[in-house]
Structure formats: C-alpha cells, structure tokens
Symmetry: C2
Amino acid sequence: MPRMTSSERRDAIVEAALNVMVGKGMAATTVRDVAEQMGTSSGLIHHYFESMDDLLAAAFDRAAGRDLDATRAAVARGGGPVERLAVFFATYVRAEQDWAFQLWLDAWAEAARRPAVRETSQRHNVAWQQLLSETIRAGVNADVMVCGDPEAAAWRILSLLDGLALQAVAHRLLINRQAVISWSVSYAEAELGLSPGSLGCLPRR
Amino acid sequence: MPRMTSSERRDAIVEAALNVMVGKGMAATTVRDVAEQMGTSSGLIHHYFESMDDLLAAAFDRAAGRDLDATRAAVARGGGPVERLAVFFATYVRAEQDWAFQLWLDAWAEAARRPAVRETSQRHNVAWQQLLSETIRAGVNADVMVCGDPEAAAWRILSLLDGLALQAVAHRLLINRQAVISWSVSYAEAELGLSPGSLGCLPRR
DNA sequence: GGCGTTGTTGGACAGGCGCACAATAGCCTC
DNA sequence: GAGGCTATTGTGCGCCTGTCCAACAACGCC
C-alpha cells in the first residue's frame, strides 16, 4: 500500500475505525476489520496505536469532536443568547441522530472496561455541559434568562436530552426526533424563565 | 454436582449469570464464567439456554423485573396518588443505583447485536412507562394533578430520570443521587401542576 | 549509488469464545 | 433389581481476538 506520512496514516486509521464502528458498533470493531476497511495489514495499526482501547477512543473522539465543534460553531454564529440557545438545541438533536447516539451508548457501556474510552467520553460530556452552561450564563448576564445556577441547569437540560435520545433509540416508534427537540426545548424555556415558543418556531407539545 | 429439577437449575443458572454480569458487565460475561460461578460444567448451560443471547436476556430480565416489581409493590402500598408518585421516585432512584444502571447501559448497548436482550429491555422500558403513566392518570382522575397527556409526561419524566442517572454514572462526582432525585422530582411537580415540595420532603434545589 | 531509517507486511502466537456431542451418573418407574 | 430417561460432565472443534515480530520495501540523506 502507498506510503503515507505519520499524521496522514494516523488520520486514515482513525477514519477507517470510525467507519467500522458506525457500521458494527464499538464493541464489535476489531483490528482486522479496521485494516480491511483501510486496505492494509493489521500489523500497521499497532504501529500507530498502542492498544485497541486507544484506537477506539481516538475514533470516538473524532466523531464526538466533530459534533461538538459543529454545534459550537453554529452557536457562535447565533446573534443573541436566546437565538444561540435555540441553535444549540437544533444542532444538538441533529448531531445525536441515527448512529451517533448509538456510538455514545457504546462508549458509555465500554467505558466500564476501557480506560481510554472512559476518559474520552467523560471529557466530551463535560465539554458539552460547558458549552451549554456558558450559553446560559451569557443569557443571564444579558438579562434575557433567569437562572441561579447555570452549571446545574445545563446538567439537567443535557440529561433530559440524552434521556430522550435514549428512549428514542431504544424504541424508535414511540418517541421521534420531533418530540425530543420540542420536549427538551419546552423544558429549557421553563427552566430559564423564557416565554413559551421563544426557543424556536418548531411545533411544540 | 447435585441434581436439580429443571426449574430449579434454570433458576440457579440465571442467578449465577446475574452475579457474573453485575461483577464484570454484560458484554464480558461468558458461559465459562457462569459455569464456574455455579460450580458446574459449561455444557450444562446450553442444555437450558439455546444461546448466550437468551441467557443474558434472562438474567437481565430477572434483575430488571425485581426492580420493577419492587417499585410497583411500593407504589401500590402508597395512599393517595401524590404519595404514590413520591414513592415511585424514591424507589426508582434507589433501584437504579450502583450496578443496576450499568446493567441497563450494557443492555441498551448490547441490544444492537443481541435480539433477545433488545426485546427484554424494550419490554421493561414500556412496563416502567406504563406504571408511571397509570399513576399519573390516577392523579388526574382524582383532580390532584394536571396533565393533558399522561403517556407523554411519563416518557419525559422517565427520560430525565434515565438521563440524570446516565450522567451520574458517567462522572460520579459531578452529579450525585441526591441531585438526581431532587431535580427529577422538581420537574415532575412542574409537569403535573403540583406545588413545589409536595412530592417529598427531600432537600430540593 | 549505497545506506540507514522507517513505514509496511503477513503470519505466528497464546488465549478466549460459543457451541456440540459422546460418555457418564443419578433418579424414577416397573 | 433392571431398565430407561435425563441431568450433568468434560472435552474438543472451529473460529476469532489483540498483540507481537522478523522480514520486506520505500524513502531521505550523505
């Protein structure tokens, strides 16, 4: 196979691992799968990653990082705090759709046995909470939201979002994505003292 | 090893499997582990269970079923609808503690690859939602709660509970059990038109 | 152009997995 | 007590896993 620079190859491996993970799930992803996906030998992978744990963590890190970066960028483009918060919800729910949330599910479960995966998922979880709590804090400082503890409120809102996504994945027919976003938006409006409907023109409950 | 009746042996296998699952996680549980835990040969297990999928599902079914039955019984002992709801929260959060929620996490992740586990976790999820929505409906019928759609409200409350438990397990230090119960209780009170504090004397936010 | 460095190969290794199956051991019935 | 039924054993098969390593090949440097 063609020679690559270190960073290119490392990138390609992570990308291949991510592809396999999306298709088969994190727990079922093997070194040989990733090698086959890349079209190289399996030994190559261990030249770039100390262990399978590290590789899975790196692949998950990339997927989760992309979603986080996309949401962070979209939020930053928003005008006022309220609009930024609305963008947060819209982008978050879109990011967590389909295979993405299954990946989070896998990561949480695997975290019990894979230290690197655990570290990665914890780091991203905290990053999401920080992004949301900073958005809330900006709204409070601008006197358009009311919240005594933005940190705690962010945990609560994220918990509801994740819990709803969980239910949506667990039985796809009973809860749909429309419900996830409208319910969580309604909750956030109540939590932050916003008037109903101010966080988006989506049909609400 | 001493001979048992069919049902006794089946029971013992499920119990042993559950013990292993609690200690090592569902994904890491093997036939040989379960056999060793029981003190018998591994071949015996396949006389009672067609596949590992069935065994894992049966073990999870027992664990989840116990929690559900305990909560259902505790709720039934409650006096009025409001007290029953308060009992639901107290018992639910206690049931989901420690290893129990990790088991749910494992089940959700494994569900993608193990049909029997998927069926079992879906069944229990729906059962929890029915228990909660029936409690809510009773409160609405008794004119002590206000809720236009008890089914949907039950999904929202359960989602928040699960999401909070998820965060609590993911980073044990940032959210504790006290927060899980007080935050979810506060949400339920707002959702159902109850006055703050009516769902329990626990310290709230 | 030779040479050292390094990306890359492909297979070996030890271990673990679910599962199957013939042999054994214990109980019940007649 | 004999015979049959079934719970139980122990082993072995085939496959798959992560990791390692000696050999090979391509690139940059002098």
